[in-house]
Symmetry: C2
Subunit: 343 residues, 2 copies
């Protein structure tokens, strides 16, 4: 089977079977590509396969076979149009699992591979040794290497890839099928035709591609989110306001109340709970140090002290209507999902 | 007639008949209060009355007499529930205009006045002389003075009010009936009972009140908007991305596509057009100077050079579906209102 896609890329290797690697592998396979998941750990691969089966159950639950007009709002944006009158959702699931190979064998994983998506931990030494190893076993000079690193730049690793002109960032968001963005960021020596090909590949896997035209820490979305979350937390850290008030004022001022349902409304502290409070605290502390920004450091410390150390970590990928967890808000049924929240 | 409101305040004087003063006066009157509009210019008062009549026509157009469940999404948030089975929208309009007095006579305007909303230009000398004059003619020691200043703090003028404990900020957004927030910000010497009373008054005029607990430049909403707009413009100024791509990535990542209709979606550059590009350019340049922030200064200069000097000022209070104007986007029917925008 071929995808008849824009890029012509069919065989893809996902390196690293963590949260993001698992999601990228599933999204690439469900859109018709042959996927190999490579990890150093058999346990990680087993967990990855289990997670794929669980995610595919949510695909089935959200699928609507009558969704021919692509307007089923319950279905994830990245999953629209996969099932059809000629192919049931059950068939999509079966074929998807059949297209994924899980292995610890780098040589096997790199054979005939056309595109690599690297999703290993954000530790420079691990990234460097991974690229050195992949390069050693990659027999095809045309293979494109992409990194899904959130915090590091392609330039940081290009020397280890053995293919500077065919290396760039292809960055996804957590919950890749819902927030279906793909940020494509070359380094200065990336070949333009390769950038174009990867933008096309992003479309092939049902992403909306964004060309980040210069290397930029945080790509596009994190470059917007970090200053915004930091500004929101500054108001709380400095005793000016409360998380719920900040969220309310944002939602009213930016027309957030026009959402079809309250569970989809997004404001700074609602988003902190979804990203995970420990991650937000870590990012603010880290960038506060890097930029020597006292307010940002104080904001990271505040979140750490008032939430993280108390086990209030947020809802991340959970269901705010069902899960019992603390974050900035209390779950299930946080106050922002009450119809009175904006009154 | 009395409002039977939370605050007990009935007689309100609006000082300054500009854009915001006109809106505050109308909203205060339409919710059942006796309003005096005071300005130094007869022409300004005539224009204010004309604008009141025009705004009340939009109220009639948006009103739905059957809106007993307060769920008419077309109606402004601040106008819900004004008409009823016993009172038609036409009656509301007639009574509203009958409750407003327009005058250039400070003595008359201050007689029996319970609350003042000051909306004069953001020039420190004008504010100071206004408060000195109001204080001179205010015969009631209990009268509360509020400032609607967006850029200056209550502390900057408290010495001219003659009533430090009864002075504070009561700040509204442009389009007060839609973005129906009221930011109530005391200075350190404001009496707590006065702050509470003004929060209650905000509810009486159908606002959602927010207590800004410490003096903060930009209150809550502008404290969030400015860093966010600045971060967005940085990506464009630095050649990393384009306005439309930045808006798309925001809307997809924060679930903005869940809005009932595309015309209500909000992202950084869409909002810049609604605020008005010259104002955003001015704010970024000003704060860039104050904070000695080179990136922010460059962002203000970029907007000035690429848009403002070319007459691309945005849509502000206009209708994006009908008006012909340039901004970051081209109107009418900007690309962000196309159903393909997020595909």
């Amino acid at each position: 089977m071929t995808t008849n896609g824009f890029s012509g890329i069919q065989k893809v290797t996902i390196v690293g079977a963590g949260t993001l690697g698992t999601q990228v592998a599933l999204q690439t396979a469900i859109t018709g590509h042959d996927v190999t998941v490579l990890d150093v750990s058999d346990d990680a691969l087993t967990k990855c396969r289990t997670n794929h089966e669980a995610i595919l159950k949510t695909y089935l639950a959200r699928d609507n076979a009558n969704d021919t007009d692509n307007d089923n709002d319950n279905q994830a944006r990245g999953w629209k149009g996969l099932s059809s009158v000629t192919k049931s959702a059950e068939q999509v699931v079966e074929e998807t699992l059949n297209r994924i190979l899980y292995t610890t064998d780098t040589e096997k994983a790199m054979k005939d591979c056309e595109l690599v998506s690297e999703n290993v931990p954000e530790v420079p030494e691990i990234k460097a040794s991974t690229y050195t190893n992949l390069s050693k076993y990659c027999t095809n000079d045309d293979t494109i290497f992409t990194t899904n690193s959130s915090t590091l730049l392609p330039s940081d690793f290009v020397e280890h890839t053995g293919r500077p002109s065919k290396f760039l960032a292809l960055h996804f968001a957590n919950g890749i099928w819902d927030a279906n963005i793909a940020e494509v960021m070359p380094h200065p020596a990336t070949d333009d035709t390769i950038t174009t090909k990867v933008l096309d590949f992003a479309k092939d896997i049902h992403m909306v591609p964004f060309h980040v035209q210069k290397e930029q820490n945080g790509y596009l979305i994190n470059s917007l989110l970090v200053p915004w979350l930091n500004a929101a937390q500054s108001l709380v850290t400095n005793g000016v306001s409360s998380p719920a008030d900040v969220d309310k004022v944002w939602l009213i001022s930016t027309g957030g109340y026009h959402h079809k349902e309250l569970s989809t409304c997004r404001a700074p502290f609602i988003i902190m709970d979804q990203i995970g409070v420990p991650l937000v605290a870590g990012v603010l502390s880290y960038w506060g140090e890097i930029h020597n920004d006292e307010q940002m450091k104080a904001n990271g410390a505040y979140l750490q002290e008032h939430y993280v150390t108390k086990g209030k970590v947020g809802i991340t990928n959970g269901n705010p209507k069902e899960d019992t967890i603390e974050g900035i808000y209390s779950y299930p049924n946080p106050e922002y999902m009450s119809t009175d929240f904006l009154k």
